[in-house]
Amino acid sequence: MTRGRTLKVVTIVATLVLWEGIVRLGFVNQIILAAPSDIVAAAAKDGGVFMRAFAVTIAEIVAAIIVAWVLGVVLGVIAGSSHMLAAATAPVLSSIFAIPLIIVYPLLMAWLGIGPLSRIVFGVLSGFFPIALNTIDGVRAIEHRFLVFARSIGASRPQIYARIIFPLALPSIVSGLRIGTGLVVIGVVVTEMLASLGGIGYVISYHRTLFDTGHVYFGIFLALLIAVALNAGLTRLNRRVEVWRTREQESLHG
C-alpha cells in the first residue's frame, strides 16, 4: 500500500471510530445521529426492503431521465432553431423553471394517483426545463456560417440537425443534462417521501416517523449513491464534449 492510500484508510477508520464513539458515549442523541453500527444493523435487518425500494427508485429515475432528456433535447432543438419560437418559449420556460414545482405535485397526485406514474411525471417536470433551456441556448449560439456551409454541401434538413446543429450544441446540452438529471433525482425522491408507498424516499420517510435513525441514514446513503453515480457518469460525458470546445477557444485566443 502506498503512503497516500494508508493515510486515506486511516482517516476513514478514525472517522468511523470517532463517530461511533460520540454516539455510544451519549454526546449526541441517537435519534439525531445514528452510529455506523446502527446503519449496518438496519441494512442487515431490512436488506430486502431496502433493495426492493432501491429498485423502485432506480426504475422511476431511469424512466424520468429518459423522458426528460428526450423531451428537453428534442423540444429544445426545435425551439432553438427558430428565432421566433425561441423568443416565444425561452422566457416562459425560464419563468416556470423559477417556480418551486413542488407546489403542483398535489395536482399531479389528483390526476395520476400516488403510484409511480405521478412521481415519474414530477421527475420529468423537474428536469425538463433546464435541459430544454440549455439546449435552446446551445442551438441559438451556433454561428450562421455553419448552416450556410451545410446547405452548400447539399445537406438535407435531418442531416443538418443530426450532423451539424446537434453536435455543435452538445456542450451546452450536456451542461443542461447535468443540472436536469440532478433535479430529476430530487423530484423523484422528494415525491416518494411526500406521498407514496414505495421507493427509497418512502422508506426514509416511514422510518423517520418511527425514529429508526439507522434506517433513515441507510436510506439516505442509497439515495446519495444514485446521485453520485449519475453525476460521475455525466461528468465524464461532459469532459468528453468539453475537450474540443476549450481547445478551440484556446487556439482562437493563443
Binding site: V148, F149, S152, I153, G154, A155, R247, S251
Partner: protein
C-alpha cells in the same frame, strides 16, 4: 472559345430592411469559361458576397438568372459547385481528414472510397502529415487548406471562393495564393474568387471583374495576360502596377 460554365444574366438583388429597400446588385451580367480563374474585386459592401451566394444557389435573385453549365440554379448544386468561405468553418470535433470527408459522408459514399480520395486531396493541399490533427491543432492557413480540400471533395467543376485568405497574415496569404494556383493548375477546375485585394486578384487571375459600390454592377472585365506558371516577382513589375492602377481608378471614380 471554350463553353461558359457560369452564365449570369441581368441579375439584380434587392433586400428589404424594414421599410427601406436596399439594392445590393443591379443588372449584373457576365460569363466565365470553363477552366478559368476569374476574380471579382470591389469595395466592401458592394454586393460581392451576395453575388457569390446567388451563384451558389444559397440565395435567390430578385431579377435575372444564373445558369451553371446551362442549368438554371435555384438551389445549391454540391456535385457541381464547391465552396470555400472566408472562415474555414471546419467541424471542431472532426480531424482534418474527417472534415474533408464530411460532404461525401453525408452523401453516403463508402468509407474506403472516400478515405482514399480525401487523403489524396489532403496531399494535394500539402497536409498529408496532418490528416489526424483536429482543427484547433492547425494554423489559420492550414485550416483554410483543409477547407479547400473539402471544397474539392465532391469533385465539382466549379469552385467558388469568398475572400478565403482575408483572415490570414500577409505572408501566409501570399503563399496560399501561390499554392492555390498550383492546385488549380493540377486539378483544372474553374475558380471564381472574391477578394478586395487588387494584388491578389491580378496575381491569381485570368480575368478580373471590377464591381462598383452598391448597387453593385460590373464596371469592367480586365484580362490579365501574365504567362503561367506565375512567379511572385511579377507583382513588382511595371505592367502589374499599371493594371492595379487602372482597377484602382475604376473603383475610385465609381464612388458616389
Amino acid at each position: 472559345m471554350s463553353k461558359s460554365i457560369i452564365q449570369v444574366d441581368e441579375l439584380g438583388k434587392t433586400f428589404s430592411a424594414g421599410r427601406a429597400q436596399v439594392r445590393a446588385l443591379a443588372d449584373v451580367s457576365f460569363s466565365i469559361e470553363e477552366g478559368r480563374f476569374v476574380t471579382l474585386v470591389g469595395p466592401s459592401g458592394c454586393g460581392k458576397s451576395t453575388l457569390l451566394q446567388i451563384i451558389a444557389g444559397l440565395v435567390g435573385p430578385t431579377t435575372g438568372e444564373v445558369r451553371i453549365e446551362g442549368e438554371r440554379i435555384s438551389a445549391p448544386m454540391p456535385d457541381k459547385i464547391g465552396m470555400v468561405f472566408q472562415d474555414p468553418t471546419l467541424l471542431p470535433w472532426k480531424t482534418a481528414l474527417a472534415n474533408v470527408e464530411f460532404p461525401l459522408d453525408l452523401r453516403g459514399v463508402e468509407r474506403t472510397v472516400r478515405r482514399r480520395r480525401c487523403a489524396a486531396l489532403l496531399d494535394l493541399v500539402g497536409l498529408r502529415e496532418f490528416a489526424d490533427h483536429y482543427p484547433h491543432e492547425l494554423s489559420g492557413g492550414m485550416r483554410q487548406r483543409v477547407a479547400i480540400a473539402r471544397g474539392l471533395a465532391q469533385d465539382p467543376r466549379l469552385i467558388l471562393m469568398d475572400e478565403p485568405f482575408a483572415a490570414l497574415d500577409e505572408q501566409s496569404r501570399t503563399r496560399m495564393g501561390h499554392d492555390l494556383l498550383d492546385i488549380w493548375e493540377k486539378t483544372g477546375k474553374t475558380v471564381f474568387f472574391i477578394t478586395h485585394s487588387l494584388t491578389e486578384a491580378i496575381y491569381l487571375s485570368d480575368r478580373v471583374l471590377v464591381m462598383s459600390p452598391r448597387p453593385g454592377r460590373i464596371l469592367e472585365s480586365i484580362a490579365i495576360e501574365f504567362p503561367r506558371p506565375r512567379e511572385l516577382d511579377i507583382i513588382g513589375s511595371e505592367a502589374f502596377g499599371s493594371i492595379r492602377n487602372r482597377i484602382w481608378h475604376l473603383i475610385a471614380e465609381a464612388q458616389p
